[in-house]
Symmetry: none
Subunit: 196 residues, 4 copies
DNA sequence: TATGAATGAGAATTCATTCAT
DNA sequence: CATGAATGAATTCTCATTCAT
């Protein structure tokens, strides 16, 4: 199509930014470092992204898309809401395990600036939360989960538990616990808490 | 080391910084704005604090000291680990409710950049988590809580649940849920999950 | 030297640049905007012009050639120096009226920076001025105009009067005066001033 | 008053900018060069001025204030409108002669960008023009000047004549004519043109 | 010739920090 | 101790120009 090829520059920049942001933090990362890491000129970045903030947002959305697809794929064909929650926990933590850089950025950088969190609607994240919410509602309809549980609260509590645990896992150098054990502990505890 | 000669200035700066950081985020806050808010000269800030980072750290430690004292005070004289956890949840969320600015900073700014979190040990936070950990261990020793629960994981999960719920509460403009209801839902669920 | 292979492209670029420079000013105009306006690729412009400066110079010379031809054509066959001056004034202002974009560029952009005016000899403009100078000299030889008038000064004064008036006319949104009335006032006054 | 003195920095920057703008043109002048010329740090400039454009505007207004005062002072106590116009011409050209840098900036740089001329109201200049306009009106009321002359046109024509002549004088390296002769030629011609 | 993606030098501006008063 | 004017290093972003196709 185009004469001088795209050559995957868009994704190369995203990948480079992921590494650089994870290493230095968003505000201490320089466009020029991302450019060097991606093997493009500084100016090239501005062909693919509006500005530095835009890189972070695109990076997040790109990843969120993949995460959502992956999660939905894992849950596909499952019936039992309890099984689904267990799978959610395991899948989430395994993802963190395999994408440390990405995880660090989402947990640390993207939460950072009020400017970001307030202005940026973050639909991907809300959809992710809703996967949990829907499982809970489904369980309640089937009479498996307690009716008095508020899905809007419980979905956040469940996610928050997973998230805090994985933040710890990401930031600590020695990995004390196996990710599978942790996933089990959290989903078992949560299920015991909301099951009838 | 930051001096504390006082005059009220030290605390005035901390208070000003709390407001300014909460409004703009750490990286978008200017020393000069904090100075104006605190009604001191820019240079005066450097008599009380090493640098901008130091303000955030002191701010956090100052606050954490108060939070820890408050929490310990609330739990004082209580015996039942289940009651303690309920009290913890309620006290935590009430604190968030009454210190929105502070809450936003702790949740958003202090989670920041590796630069910060990796180097700064954040003992206050660890001690806060350990309050939960100790309650769980105590419950296990008394035979009330399941022995197989890992306190190191559970304390983070419980805190994470409270934290995620309160992040949502802080960031959303309309407060859909009453903080007390939320506290109850989370502690009830968690207790049901770990009790024998 | 700029090529002129043509295809219409050369003139299309000149025309596009005229509009763009008039709208944004030379320094705030982007090559890419001119290219889009001319419906050619950015790179194509560099086939027809050396660089951005060259576009302005060519634009000016192209236009000046036309202006000079037009003026000489209007004066052709006229004998009376007084009539010639009146015609000059009217023709000049009518040109401004019909070529607002061009007028704005000549008045504003080409007067630019020493960098430009000092190095660029601007012969077209000097020839334009000399039309006035020659009319004055002719009038003096015929004994109609005062001998003590310095043609080198008077030609500039006459042109300056027309130019300042037309700058005002170009820049103001409401056109208070009719261009023909203005032309008459200026030439009448000037003639009354230099006639014997 | 202030601890570390102003030390005339504001005026030093204006003076430095005048030299630098006159030498390179506005768009080719670098803030850092102005700073070096003024013997201040780059950042210091931004204490006294909003941005680069602001320097040009302040420079112009500062100068215009002086020019207006000077002109009004010269005309003070004069009665005869004809004398006043002669004085205006001479004073204007002498000013140019003594402030070449300033003159070049006003004539060349300030006219430059449409952005400037269109957005910036330029009251100083309008007041300067009105000095001429008022003299003409006064002369008409006294019956000395022709009633049919439009002051709104004539003031611009007179100014334009002086301005074009002085542009030439400023830009050419060899000064062919004495400024006083030029002033006389222009005012004599103009007066002969509008007198009854 | 024509294209337009890629380049990278260049400059304006910001703001934490200092230090003479 | 307190001040706040001054500093200048640091970084984003722009855009004229090139050149592989």
């Amino acid at each position: 199509m185009s004469k001088r090829k795209d050559n995957g520059k868009y994704h190369r920049i995203i990948a480079a930014a992921t590494r650089v942001f994870a290493k230095n933090g968003f505000y201490h990362s320089k466009i020029s470092e991302i450019a060097k890491e991606a093997q493009v000129a500084d100016g090239t970045i501005y062909i693919y992204f509006e500005n530095k903030d835009d890189i972070l947002i695109c990076l997040f959305e790109e990843q969120m898309k993949a995460v959502l697809e992956n999660m939905n794929h894992q849950l596909e064909g499952m019936d039992d809401p309890s099984e689904k929650l267990k799978t959610f926990a395991l899948t989430h933590l395994e993802l963190i395990e395999h994408n440390k850089d990405m995880a660090e950025i989402i947990q640390v950088e993207l939460r950072q600036s009020g400017k970001f969190m307030k202005e940026y609607k973050n639909e991907g994240f809300l959809r992710y939360l809703d996967i949990i919410g829907n499982i809970i509602t489904e369980g309640q309809q089937k009479g498996i989960f307690k009716a008095q549980v508020l899905p809007g609260v419980a979905k956040r509590a469940f996610f928050g538990a997973l998230d805090e645990v994985s933040r710890f896992w990401v930031l600590s150098s020695r990995k004390e616990y196996d990710i599978r054990v942790v996933a089990e502990q959290i989903s078992d505890c949560f299920l015991a808490g909301i099951r009838n």
